[in-house]
Symmetry: C2
């Protein structure tokens, strides 16, 4: 009974926060649009691309930052927490825009990815030269703008986000680690095949930790906590909850990237196979499949025009090898670790409820 | 006699500042490298790419920021001015890394551009998949990292760089305007040929103002002045000097992009012609040449494999049309405006000497 009261309170509070977040984001982008419009109507198109992307998504990171803030004693629906959430969402948008160029992803959140959107407009308007190159160039710049905006908003939080604070250090570290993780991912695609296969799983784990896990859950949570003045003891406890949660979240993402339903993920079937992502799932498969299966895998992984039959073939090998079962077991183990750490967090019940709910969504998601 | 004493003093002070700038930049990148190395030796390669690029260049922007700082009463060789210079240099490096991807430039400062450097390493090590795509992906991430670093350093200046200050506003505006200007440049290449030719010169002027002029001279100068607490009167006077100077600087750059000597520019001959840049020089040419010359220009501009004879042909048309003469006259007029505004600046003689020297270098350069 008590639990369900807390649950309802946390849902109501989260909804209010999310509304402030969306309103704040739209207002910020509206102001930026007005400024760029003064230069030229054309320049405002960059903001439109950012706004469309920033309009969607699960807001997981911003919500974790908010509850991290609240768990450290931050005031309900405080402006600083909203600002931090907007900064994180803009950073996420910037990372996605550039990631989609790097991965050659055609879609994002069920819509054309930003570079494909610009490319499409080029074709529709019958412009000169290469539509694809224009799309990439425009998206590089849209991502840069979005990255700058993220920082502008973070710096706007005030003294808590200024130099030397714990929150600023986490924010800086978050950005550098995501970029390093993304680079390791890009590198693994090209250098991985020539490196010791027995270390492939370790390399994949490192990539998922830095590229995604820390940044999707641990860093936002700790950032929110640090902004509200949480001490190092609390921040470590947040990490003990957030890191395994993020790892479970990302391994689930890798499973969805191979086995997910395009209807719910908003991505084509087997997208990660076409991209040749060297995930933990793939690493485990390579270690456990037969030599002929390994040849089949190495031959087709990363081939941009995989057929439906080839995707089925690859999926079969991954399942048969036991890799799918192993990663499901890893997800369960990491989730257990996260939920155990969550129980020990010294936070108000309403905060604990909200974190529990977000953690459930993160590891049990289908999209 | 008095002048030459001031000149010597300003040269000596500038040299000291430049040494602090280079040392500070190296220290910062060294710390960042150590942090990323903890993740993986591979990740540190991203920093190496940034460090090689950041090691070169004329440091015009950082020097202007410094003298802007000094002119507003900032202390000699103050740490905040050095930090601001490092932030600006890192922003410039980030912009160049992404600009070279967008423009497909093979070289920068006489060395391979960052994306080509990564591509080269891919080939040397015999990695899998596409070397060119790997190079671009790695350079997108290196640029993102560099952009984040720029902001990290700027936020590290302290309260003068925090939210709400005049300096922070200039820093934010500088970034957004450069990205908008770059986008207008990219757009002009593809959409320009279909737009009214009689406005081509105006469009090119707008691009050069936002992509380059403001950011190369006006913004750094004003940023330094604002950091030192300069009032709006001083900042406007800085603009009156910095903006025409930046415009003259960029028009000179456009001339060098077509007529410059590869030995001194570090760029291949006629690089801007190959890239199809729609500069003021090209806009004036299109307005003044014969229809057959216009056809020749439209046919060859932006063709990636222009021959030496075709470059000579294009240069001939540009000269014959009178466009080269006209832009030289524009450079002279803008320089006059800048130097007149400089004379009116209420700054110490040693500062005035230094600004005069930088302005000379900016508009009379050959590289």
């Amino acid at each position: 009974m008590e639990t369900s009261v807390n649950k309802n309170r946390s849902i109501a509070e989260q909804e209010k926060f999310q509304n402030s977040l969306v309103t704040g984001l739209q207002e910020f982008l509206g102001e930026q649009r007005a400024q760029l419009q003064e230069i030229s109507e054309d320049a405002a198109e960059l903001i439109d691309a950012v706004a469309v992307l920033a309009d969607g998504g699960k807001r997981l990171r911003a919500l974790l930052a908010y509850w991290g803030w609240r768990g450290a004693g931050g005031a309900e629906l405080a402006g600083q927490a909203v600002q931090a959430g907007i900064a994180i969402e803009l950073f996420q948008a910037a990372a996605l825009i550039h990631d989609d160029i790097i991965d050659r992803s055609d879609t994002r959140r069920g819509k054309p990815s930003v570079h494909r959107g610009f490319e499409l407009r080029h074709r529709q308007r019958g412009w000169s030269l290469d539509a694809e190159r224009y799309g990439e160039a425009a998206a590089i710049l849209a991502g840069d703008l979005c990255l700058s905006f993220s920082e502008e908003v973070f710096a706007g939080i005030g003294s808590e986000g200024a130099s030397g604070t714990r929150a600023r250090k986490i924010f800086n570290r978050m950005r550098a680690e995501v970029m390093a993780g993304q680079y390791l991912d890009v590198l693994e695609e090209v250098a991985g095949p020539g490196r010791p296969p027995e270390h492939a799983v370790d390399r994949a784990l490192k990539i998922l930790r830095y590229k995604s896990a820390k940044y999707s859950t641990e860093h936002p949570l700790c950032l929110g906590g640090a902004l509200a003045g949480g001490d190092s003891e609390l921040i470590s406890r947040y990490s003990a909850f957030g890191l395994p949660l993020g790892e479970a979240f990302q391994i689930r993402d890798d499973v969805l990237g191979v086995f997910g339903d395009p209807e719910t993920t908003g991505k084509p079937a087997g997208d990660d196979l076409r991209e040749g992502k060297r995930t933990v799932l793939i690493g485990l498969t390579l270690n456990n499949c037969s030599p002929s299966e390994r040849d089949y895998l190495e031959k087709h992984l990363g081939s941009p025009d995989l057929t439906g039959a080839e995707i089925d073939g690859l999926r079969g090998i991954i399942e048969q090898s036991g890799a799918l079962g192993s990663v499901e077991a890893m997800i369960a183990e990491l989730s257990d670790a996260a939920f155990s750490a969550l129980e020990l967090l010294p936070v108000e019940p309403v905060v604990g409820e909200a974190m529990q709910n977000l953690a459930d969504r993160a590891v049990r998601r289908t999209a």
